[in-house]
Symmetry: C2
Subunit: 230 residues, 2 copies
Amino acid sequence: MSNSWSEIRDEIKRRVLERELLPGAKLPNDQELAEEFGCARTTVQRAMQDLVHSGTVNRRRKGGTTVTLHPITRTTFDIPITRLEIQTAGKEYGYFLVSREIRVSPTHVASSFGLAKPMEMLHVVALHLADKKPYIYEDRWIVHSTTPEILDIDLSRESANEWLIRNRPYSDCEVRFLAKNATHHEAELLSADPGDAVFVMERTTWINKAPITMVRAIAAPGYQLVTKAS
Amino acid sequence: MSNSWSEIRDEIKRRVLERELLPGAKLPNDQELAEEFGCARTTVQRAMQDLVHSGTVNRRRKGGTTVTLHPITRTTFDIPITRLEIQTAGKEYGYFLVSREIRVSPTHVASSFGLAKPMEMLHVVALHLADKKPYIYEDRWIVHSTTPEILDIDLSRESANEWLIRNRPYSDCEVRFLAKNATHHEAELLSADPGDAVFVMERTTWINKAPITMVRAIAAPGYQLVTKAS
DNA sequence: ACTATTATTATGTGCATGCTTAATAGTATT
DNA sequence: AATACTATTAAGCATGCACATAATAATAGT
């Protein structure tokens, strides 16, 4: 009986799905499973690690392996550079800078970075277009003390989104999804009506504790984020 | 020089972050890296697998390992049972059934399941409360030919959300996030105003190709989905 | 009865070795 | 000369063993 680690994973998953193993149930230890499947303990370990990743089981040394008590839906979203998202969809990409100025950030921006009080940042507002139609409205605060080079970039030609992702990698990122009603200003730029529900993706990034940028990307009405979870 | 696989992973990630390895760049092969780090090839392989998971690098047999060309933000969200989400936040959970009837599904529901044409399903509308205030409005279509037991469940006592997650595991799940304006009916139940922007999470699940349920969970205004990506 | 130590047990990690896959070079055939 | 098949080989991938580590349970000492 020769089983690959992924077959073992699938079989355990099947037992969980078919309720042969109930939530909270303790699985046999790796050694026993290895004997059952006729393989080495390491192979079972591999399968189990994958199940830990997908949130199917929990493992603790000495405590053993148990089926996750409260099943959850674990989904993964990839957020690409906006230009690529548009071009991948087969649409023509367009971009223009709405405003660019250095000013003291509002408190909510500072607190999102975990900063005690507001500080001077570069505030950039821009619009991304798909097939000449507004697609994403980008309201961004850049901590230029962390990334001084950004001050020399001509943001009317290259989006801050793209420049930062390519030139200022981050170590930590907080993502926030929410819905809001479009303001007058946002609606105008997005060719929508004021009050229209818009989908907002907020991202705050740091490089080793140092704040880089916080962006509020507001999608035009109709935008959806889709993913297939296993 | 003894390095654990996670230290190797962190070091490679650092090189990518510090732009010592540019997007698209080819890394040395596992053998060479193993020599550099003074460890076995397998240990490098482990580190690399983790970097593949996080989307940092791509690997192809014979082709080698390359730094991901277009950096992306990969985020993972865990969507729990609504009751637990509320209780975990330290709030009192409440629930009531708004309506329950068997009827032919609209076409958009059928097409979400990948069904050619509409069919009879169980349609359930319910409200989840946090500290007696509306929290999530749940509009659900259940394929009762896949899960006939659901017809015998008293959904005024136990939410379909909970019963299904506990009793009808799924193998595939499609998740969709979007924003919309609350309808009159939705606004009333959520104690909001018609037209308020609400955050919508749509989930469609299957068990081995057989459709189970499609739920549209509409959160009360102010709801946010937050996660920390690495 | 409480605390410190030791034993046990289950998972985690590192290493050696052999397998699988895909790109490419080489060869034969049209 | 162009195509189609085959062999080579350079990568990553999978498996199994031995040992490390962590969490609990058992025991001994105060």
